[in-house]
Amino acid sequence: MRVLRNVLGLLGELLITAGAFLLLFVGWQLWWTDVVSDTDASAVVATMAANPDAWVQPKKVKLGEAFAIVRVPRFGADFARPLYEGTTREVLQRGVGHYLETALPGEIGNFAMAGHRTTYGKPFNQIDKLKLGDVVLIETRDYYFVYRVSASEVVAPSKTSVLLPVPNDRQAAPTKAMLTMTSCHPEFSARERFVVYAVLDVKYPHAQGVPASVLEVQG
């Protein structure tokens, strides 16, 4: 009996420890990764904003480098995230990632980017709240590019055709400057992807800045 009691006692402690470990992991994933990522993203954006001459030209950017700032008025007036080259795990833990070999901001073709829906600062948490005509503003060294949301859909994670120069059309030659944003769907799952498409509306030279009306949320 004594042996049994000892074994059960240890087993109980082990289970309690395992439970605490799992709760801690959930806390880390849902809360701490946001704290770390938000702090880092704010610092990167502040550094970029303070040194506009130090920005990398989009054409010359290397994997993992920040080269633009993404603003989406619908996500909040102070929403600003660095855009990094590439969509590796490390990049996406720090901000929004530009799919390699897709068009650059403002170019004819499809400029595609990915961001977390939950955890790691969750830049695209509210991607499903975007409405037709909503502004996605991309600030690069030389320009502000104003994209406007044109469509959205939920697709399987394997549907890479959303990244094509003309999304979902393998044959067509691009004539418009498109933007594709991808994130996970539903929240806290990786079963599907939420995809938002936008079209370049207008661009402003960096020195000129953006009219305040662009940053207003309509409706």
Binding site: N6, G9, L10, E13, F21, L24, F25, W28, Q29, W32, T33, T87, R89, L92, G97, Y99, A114, G115, H116, R117, T118, T119, Y120, F124, V155, P157, S158, K159, T160, V162, L163, T182, S183, C184, F188, S189, A190, R193, V195
Partner: protein, 53 residues
């Protein structure tokens, strides 16, 4: 037989001091988990993918 019971017994000093030591140990364990263990586990979880590939 109990690990936590054993830990409590081997920690030196009066009760108040033991409580402080347990708290410090707990903070150290959480710090190690947050800094090194969880970042390694996270990529194995099925809810962190956001790209199409």
């Amino acid at each position: 037989m109990s690990f936590y019971g054993w830990l409590w017994r081997v920690l030196p000093g009066p009760k108040a001091l033991k409580v402080v030591q347990v708290a410090l140990l707990l903070i150290a364990v959480v710090a190690v988990l947050f800094t090194w263990v969880f970042p390694v586990i996270a990529p194995l979880m099925p809810f962190n993918d956001t790209t199409v590939e």
